[in-house]
Point group: C2
Chain length 302, copies 2
Amino acid sequence: MTYTWINGNYVESAQASLGVDDLAIQRGYGVFDFFSLRRPKPSLSAEVHSQGPMATARCRQGIPFLLPWYLDRFFHSAQALNLEVPLSKSELTAVIQEFIDKNQLVDEGIKMILTGGYSPDSYTPLEPNLVISAHKINFPAKEKYEQGFKVMTHEYQRESPAAKSINYLQGIQLIPVLKARGLDDVLYHWGGVVTEFPRSNIFMVDQQHQLVTPGINVLAGITRKTVLYLAKENYSPTLRDLTVSELKQAKEVFLTSTTKGIVPVCVIDGHPVGDGVPGVVTKHLAQLLGDLAEDFSMRLEG
Amino acid sequence: MTYTWINGNYVESAQASLGVDDLAIQRGYGVFDFFSLRRPKPSLSAEVHSQGPMATARCRQGIPFLLPWYLDRFFHSAQALNLEVPLSKSELTAVIQEFIDKNQLVDEGIKMILTGGYSPDSYTPLEPNLVISAHKINFPAKEKYEQGFKVMTHEYQRESPAAKSINYLQGIQLIPVLKARGLDDVLYHWGGVVTEFPRSNIFMVDQQHQLVTPGINVLAGITRKTVLYLAKENYSPTLRDLTVSELKQAKEVFLTSTTKGIVPVCVIDGHPVGDGVPGVVTKHLAQLLGDLAEDFSMRLEG
């Protein structure tokens, strides 16, 4: 059984609810963030710490990956919607650690949702509701990493793009279209300038072997940030506008997300990207990202 | 005590809730509609029907105003978001009548919310949740009808404007700005072409005494539709694009909404509209709208 944390109280997840007056339900008003845990490798250090059943349990529990970056973004999103997170970052960090312990989480994802709260006039935010819940992460199938995503483009600009609001109206409206066409995702552009996927950022390796990702009007993805860091040494990444037609001429395209990592994008609007198979830069960065996560767990654990 | 109707069950309103897995909370995904009840006038017919306490109670209960139009729009909004209303229009009408009886409603408003429902992957809609709740209507203060609203313009285009989705991100984000400037509402435009308020439609009486309201990229308001009908005889209303600068040169401007009726707009971005006081056409149409609602109650009741 898992527990969901709501405004300071633990509730059985199956019973976790918000009153219908909440502004998320009334007006779709809220922000969220989602980070994943890394499973600690079995190692000498785990054995050293194992001094009883509780100690063992603790050592097996997952470690939040890059939590400070996710918290920074969560607080930034809240501010953009004029919502105040009812805890400080350090208080929230402590609650998250307690939440991981309470639920004995290992490699799940954790979602924090901050809504506009219960509003007497169903419009004006008053006191936000904060919900923390655990989620199994369903990674894309292995074939998707090997063969790449097939995507379509669609003109749309997310509202307040730098904030991770709960507004996914456009993305969800398009699910039946993607399904009918046998596609994996939709790539937004605005006037031909590429922005992002509903839940992922985009990268391109252009004909000059430069790694490029849009710098404005997109969510500042944490995996995007991590990839920019990892790519620094070998691929001198650039933040700039990129067009749909440029993207279709690219050598490689891939997407980044917390719940997917790096996924090659091999078909855009029916056009194969590069050779139509995952490229060398994509594969190298995916390797580096995997190594970092592993190394991160090892270091924190040891 | 009032009751809220959730998926076929009545729940005390203070306890009415949705699980946090609901797509309204997870992704702001849902549609709604809101209609008001008209209080029947005390009349001979009421006395005729008064054949005991139950009969009296029933006669005092409110009558949904223009319900078929609201239901049409609700079903249209649901379809635009690929959601299926779990009841037919006639079934929903019967539920609403039962809801009015159960809650002994007289002049309240009734809200129907249809969400994306509980979603195992927190993204894909499955089986919608339908919530019906009663709300006191807080009309603007009398002075607002006498002195008119002061508004500002803001560039924004609602997503899927013809659907009444629960997405009010932009409108709610701007509440602190309106408050700081002492304004009553924000008027959206897109590239200088006026669309609507977050929760109301706009009308203008231009220099040629023509009544104009935008015809596209706006919600098809029911009060807007009613005013277009009432204006037909005297004001030959026109649906066309109108610009912000045209609006500032207008003789009269007013807004329409279910919960406000007709409210004069007398100041736009600091510029007085016309003489800066409610105009004759605005006042005449407000009178006609009031008469219609009264006449409607009388006719249905008699």
